[in-house]
């Protein structure tokens, strides 16, 4: 069997130097005229330990690989043994793991959407075909469109962009809308700061998303597909461009796909730096060449979307799940997860946790397992304080909620939400008032300005929070924040405004004491706010 050297080429590892590493490996392998295959893959997951290199078929998993390690790496490979010092070392037991199978970070994950990320060359369709790529499309093209939609409904797949709307139902709305000009839009805007799930999928296995879009197009009766990718993801854009070219050459895009009456084309639109364009109707406005300002709904995109035609918009991860449903069957798929949240969720685990990176877990796993088993616990063994889930639209979960199973419904009940998958872990040194100020600052900057509640409301809420962290909080500020939050949530035009107050409400719910300390005692219990003194007594009380 051919020896393969898989070098992680996800954005994270590239930022850690994997391009230079790849060049060095290619140079040494060429000089020695060795018959090794070198593959630059997508994200392998454990970004903390990058650049990552995996040797197949042995599965040897190497961490923090630098160009200076390359000569010995190749020598040991020639000798048929692993390069010990590059193997992953468990920080607690100090034992080395040969493969990633016995690394805690990977053990509790269920990598099905990300299964091939890090193993295949995302720029080679033949790699995708070799793992069964486009087989689901073949199965689907033999089915009635209504049956395809039923299967997706039975699977229980819900939107992974944050809304959690049942995907099958969404497709059904668009399918039932009259008209023969329909659109499938893949929302790859991924604007939540701290989120890189979609980028991981697009960089690691773009054909999966192409296949998902094709199946969606067939099901709803659309022949035009658009993927809207944020400008800050040049690697994802590049790999997706290559994927659509290859798919077209191989007959998976264009007219009469696989000798059927189904035709479908995909074009790429790049975003221009506006978080609000992750909102469906703002995204549509942007594609139409306008300022990205949301539209009132109804009418919904399913009936009147892009250029007023029926449009189905799905998130990258949602579409990447679709071929899987037809590969496994909807019944098998529905066995994963909980009663109301089927399947897996990809999370970007970052912040003050030891193992940062891209993880995929079955719905129903607890936050504790994600942070402590997979994440390895808090850096420098500090105390866990909270985990932010759902980005600027979401909320934080304190230690009292660590046993919560991850599920769309259960998260809403505790004042948080699934969101797109960003999980930022915070420790005892993080000031939760400052965190809510940070998120509101973000939302206020990104507010499109169209509706008064969001434009004016977020600005006023931000002013109050800024006063508080600077030590000028006043009695009544908390009550004012709460009442403004309710008004803004109730009356904003779109999801940005409707969810912008969430981080404030959530931190007030679980960390009200910190607000009180800032306002009444002019102290910051975490010791983070520069103008306020830290307070050891309050620290102990937490």
């Amino acid at each position: 069997m051919v020896e393969k050297i898989l070098i992680c080429g996800g954005t994270g590892c590239i930022s850690a130097g994997s391009r230079a590493l790849k060049e060095e490996i290619e140079k040494v392998v060429a000089e020695k005229e060795l018959p090794y295959q070198i593959i630059f893959t997508g994200c392998r997951g454990l970004c903390e330990k990058g650049p990552l290199v995996t040797i197949e078929p042995e599965g040897w998993f190497y961490c923090n690989v630098k160009p200076r390690h390359v000569i010995r790496l190749i020598e040991t490979l020639e000798e048929g043994k692993p390069y010990e010092r590059l193997l992953y070392k468990n920080p607690n037991t100090k034992e080395r793991s040969l493969t990633n199978k016995d690394i805690d970070f990977y053990r509790k994950q269920k990598r099905v959407v990300l299964k091939h990320c890090g193993y295949i060359d995302p720029e080679e369709i033949k790699d995708y075909l070799a793992i069964g790529g486009y087989q689901s499309l073949k199965i689907v093209l033999d089915m009635e469109t209504t049956t395809v939609i039923e299967e997706v409904k039975k699977s229980g797949l819900r939107g992974r962009g944050g809304g959690g709307f049942p995907t099958g139902l969404k497709w059904e709305f668009t399918a039932k809308s009259p008209g023969k000009d329909k659109y499938i839009i893949c929302n790859a805007d991924e604007g939540d700061p701290g989120a890189f799930m979609d980028s991981g999928v697009l960089e690691g296995n773009p054909h999966r998303v192409v296949e998902g879009m094709l199946i969606a197009g067939y099901a709803v009766g659309a022949s035009n597909g658009i993927i809207y990718v944020r400008a800050e993801y040049p690697l994802a854009v590049r790999r997706f461009k290559i994927a659509i070219k290859q798919a077209a050459v191989n007959g998976f895009l264009g007219n009469h796909i696989l000798d059927t009456d189904f035709s479908f084309d995909i074009t790429i639109k790049e975003g221009a730096g506006a978080f609000v364009c992750g909102e469906e109707t703002a995204l549509i406005e942007s594609v139409e060449g306008n300022r990205g300002m949301p539209r009132p709904r109804p009418p919904f995109p399913a009936t009147q979307g892009l250029w007023d035609k029926p449009t189905n918009i799905n998130n990258v991860e949602t579409l990447a799940n679709v071929p899987l449903i037809f590969e496994m069957g909807s019944e098998e798929y529905a066995k994963i997860g909980t009663a109301s949240s089927k399947g897996t969720k990809v999370f970007a685990l970052t912040g003050k946790v030891k193992n940062t990176g891209l993880v995929e877990v079955p719905m129903g796993i607890t936050m504790k397992e994600i942070i402590f088993d997979i994440g390895g616990g808090i850096r420098r063994d500090k105390a866990f304080k909270a985990v932010q889930i759902g980005g600027p639209s979401g909320g934080c979960l304190p230690s009292s909620q660590l046993d919560l199973p991850i599920d769309y419904g259960s998260l809403l009940e505790v004042g948080a939400m699934m969101g797109s998958g960003g999980l930022v872990v915070m420790d005892e040194d993080t000031c939760m008032v400052e965190v809510s100020r940070f998120f509101l600052d973000f939302s206020q900057t990104e507010s499109c300005g169209k509706c008064t509640p969001c434009r004016e409301g977020c600005t006023r809420m931000l002013e109050i929070l800024e006063r508080i962290v600077e030590g000028h909080g006043k009695k009544g500020d908390i009550e004012l924040l709460e009442s403004m939050a309710k008004s803004i949530k109730d009356s904003s035009l779109c999801g940005l405004g409707q969810s912008a107050p969430n981080p404030v409400l959530s931190t007030l719910r679980y960390f009200r004491g910190e607000y009180v300390a800032h306002i009444e005692h002019k102290t910051c219990p975490a010791g983070a706010c520069a103008n306020l003194t830290g307070d050891a007594i309050l620290n102990g009380k937490r």
């Binding site: 130097g17 890189f196 221009a272 730096g273 139409e288 060449g289 990205g292 940062t356 930022v424 915070m426």
Partner: protein
């Protein structure tokens, strides 16, 4: 009435801009954002003249073009520096100290986010999130990202770019991130 230098399409880019706009003559209004992106790729920013020409090309108004150009953070209507430094202000980067990195850059460059240094070398910007969160705090200089950035390493990074000797910085954290990484693992 004086026309400011930043308002005209620089001579060296005229031909490329003409060629680009001739391809888009009379096309759908949906092309506005891609045209603005491609024009900015050529010139480096969007002078007023370019926006007037684009409005003509797509048969729309200058106010529409200006409205779109000023809505999206990717577009710039002022000239920029030779190197663009983007400091990520995403959540993970924030939690891991990106404000210290930004303050460090403000001091070293004696400029503020959105502005360019007097010598025209560097433009400093903040960006919401580039998706390399596991290596926070992250900065991007031109197309290269540098993970695990710290205020202490800014001087060395800037020297590297000024002297065009970025091989040791590359897209790696050679020295920069490694130093921080090693310190954190102690």
């Amino acid at each position: 009435m004086t026309v400011k230098a930043k308002d005209i399409i620089p001579e060296q880019h005229s031909q490329a801009v003409n060629e680009l706009l001739s391809k888009y003559q009379g096309t759908s209004p949906g092309a506005l954002i891609p045209v603005l992106q491609k024009t900015q790729d050529i010139i480096g920013y969007l002078p007023k003249d370019a926006m007037i020409r684009i409005a003509d090309t797509l048969n729309t108004s200058l106010s529409k073009v200006y409205g779109v150009a000023t809505f999206y953070s990717q577009f710039h209507i002022k000239p920029r520096g030779k190197h663009i430094i983007r400091v990520c202000q995403g959540t993970a980067c924030h939690v891991l100290g990106s404000d210290k990195v930004m303050n460090g850059f403000k001091q070293h460059l004696n400029t503020t986010p959105g502005e360019t240094t007097e010598d025209g070398e560097f433009t400093l910007e903040s960006v919401a999130c580039i998706g390399a969160c596991a290596l926070a705090p992250v900065i991007v200089v031109d197309e290269k990202s540098h993970g695990k950035m710290s205020a202490e390493n800014i001087g060395r990074l800037l020297d590297g770019y000024k002297n065009q000797s970025t091989d040791n910085l590359g897209e790696t954290t050679h020295g920069i991130g490694d130093v921080v990484n090693e310190a954190q693992n102690k």
